[in-house]
Amino acid sequence: MTTVLSRRSMPAKRAWAQVSLYVVLIALALIIVLPLAWMLITSFKTDADAVRAPYSLPDPVSIEAYQTLLTSGQQPIFLWLWNSFAAATVQTVLILVTASMGAYALARLEFPGKKIVFGAIISTLLVPPVVFLIPNYLIVQNLGWLDTIWAITVPGAASAFGIFFLRQFFVGLPPEIEEAARIDGAGDIRIFLQVLIPLARPALATLAVLAFLGNWNDFLWPVYVLLSPENLTLQPGLNQLQGAYSTHFAIVMAGAVIASVPVLILFGIAQRQIVESVAGSAVKG
């Protein structure tokens, strides 16, 4: 009796469930997309238009805001864009090189002190970054790195997560792969460079994406260690821009567009890898 009933009502019930599911998901998607769309639309307005009609389409479509930014000496946003890109790239390379070498030793080589070294690295994963803030500021200051790209790339390259993540990957590889190379007379360096690194490419790509995004979006540290306008990255720069043009919606939104379009494009191209690698690193970790 019950099975007959449920079978009859199933298609209609299911269709309703499907429709309401899509309604909820689309509503959520709109909540996410509309503020971003509004940022983009506002950036193509004139100042007067942005104030007069905050939620209509630009009339006329204007690139005034971008022109103002392009010629601004105090807020050189394209220089900030370059600084952000350079810093994120330098730090990503530093992390990939140091973490892959270190993780290889910790995963595939036997040596005294291995457990202590690994334990020490892992134990710092849960330490809140604020603990390092003030001492690192003084260290960077003494190295003469304040207000330089080194301040925002080198200290943050000591990535315990990078070691943890790559070691995890290297440990999972069967020992046979390097034993074959060893029989062929390959040394540790050749095994590392020619056998393990090529195999680790997906893990390295994941770590690269996470490192790049992390550095690109860092806010607290660059706010305090970068000082002159021409040395800022986009995140602290945008904060300054808002201070300088607080009543000029269009200009600040154009700044936000410039700061977000590169990462959104990167995300659009590699979204599957990014989403899956972020989820994977969390679920496996």
Binding site: A29, M39, L126, L238, A256
Partner: protein, 327 residues
């Protein structure tokens, strides 16, 4: 999660083969050279790690035990004085610090439930048999790749009391159009939590989604055969299946909320007054803007200790639940 099954299946063989295969080479007498090789591989990372992680951690403790100041030539050891000051009621520093700690506490309590429950529900919706899952997943995750400064700028304008688009729209549909979203309590909390959920929701969603995909579909089928409804299946199959993921997410989300800085700094400037000035904001300001470095170093360790206690309690609670679940 999906990978665990094959991994578990091959692990015993692999260990066996590895044990037999690698032992002879590991026990070779030339271990001095081996050790040197290993440490040479580790050297670049260890150099960075000792200079910018271990060094600062020790330096910070030492600093917190002195009267360290950038303007002082000689530092004197003051023992636990900086810590004692923080626990002495009545001093300005102590009351400001504990005020900021309570702000961080309020933010954790107010934000973590939303940051866990909303992504869980969204992940469950995305895990249904629907079209365009990838498109939705991409959209929900997109804000997370943007920096907090972009988020602050966009929402600063949306939430502005006078000229903000949200109050504008609320006025159009007959709601109050002068809500002080970024300038008065309790609205500042609504804004900070709401913006944080909007910004980071995608991260926990995709982690939950990966966890959901790892739950064996047979369990749902078995539950259906036993006559379990949707709600029943949620509590008896989904939630137990997500347990390890749940521990990870609650732990990382609590820590992320405890480290909140940018949202307050950009949207509310810590205001009104000091109502939303978080611990991180206060410590950074004291240490780097006001040059009270020694007290600030002590504060950072007190915050660390508080977070360690919270993490341990969280782990305990989760483990208890797992044990209960197993019984």
């Amino acid at each position: 999660m999906t990978n665990t099954a094959p991994l578990v299946a091959t692990a015993p063989q692999r260990n066996g083969a590895g044990g037999r295969g690698s032992r002879p080479s590991a026990r070779r007498p030339a271990s001095g050279r081996k050790t040197l090789t290993a440490y040479l591989f580790l050297a670049p990372f260890l150099l960075l790690f000792l200079t910018f992680v271990v060094g600062p951690a020790i330096f910070g403790i030492w600093m917190s035990l002195t009267n360290w100041s950038p303007f002082r030539e000689v530092q004197t050891f003051v023992g636990l004085q900086n810590y004692i000051n923080l626990f002495t009621p009545g001093t300005v520093t102590a009351s400001d610090f504990w005020k900021s700690m309570s702000v961080t506490g309020i933010f954790i309590v107010a934000s973590v439930p939303f940051l866990v429950v909303v992504p869980l529900l969204v992940a469950i919706l995305l895990n249904q048999r629907i079209r365009a899952t990838t498109a939705f997943r991409t959209i929900f995750f997109a804000p997370y790749v943007l920096g907090v400064a972009v988020i602050g700028v966009i929402w600063g304008y949306i939430l502005d009391t006078q000229s903000g688009i949200l109050n504008h729209l609320m006025g159009l549909i007959g709601l109050p159009s002068n809500v002080p979203w970024t300038v008065d309590v309790p609205w500042v909390w609504v804004s900070l939590v709401g913006v944080t959920v909007w910004w980071t929701m995608g991260l926990n969603t995709i982690i939950f989604l990966a966890g959901l995909k790892g739950i064996n579909a047979d369990l749902y089928e078995a539950a259906s055969l036993d006559g379990a409804g949707t709600v029943n299946k949620f509590w008896n199959v989904t939630i137990p299946g997500l347990r390890p993921v749940m521990t990870f997410i609650t732990t990382t989300t609590i820590l992320a909320s405890a480290n909140m800085f940018g949202q307050s700094y950009l949207l509310t400037k810590g205001g009104p007054g000091t109502e939303t000035r978080t611990a991180i904001m206060y410590i950074a300001d004291q240490g780097l803007s006001q040059n009270n470095m020694a007290p600030a170093a002590a504060m950072s360790y007190v915050l660390f200790a508080a977070l360690a206690v919270i993490s341990v309690i969280n782990f305990r609670l989760q483990r208890e639940r797992v044990e209960k679940g197993l019984k």
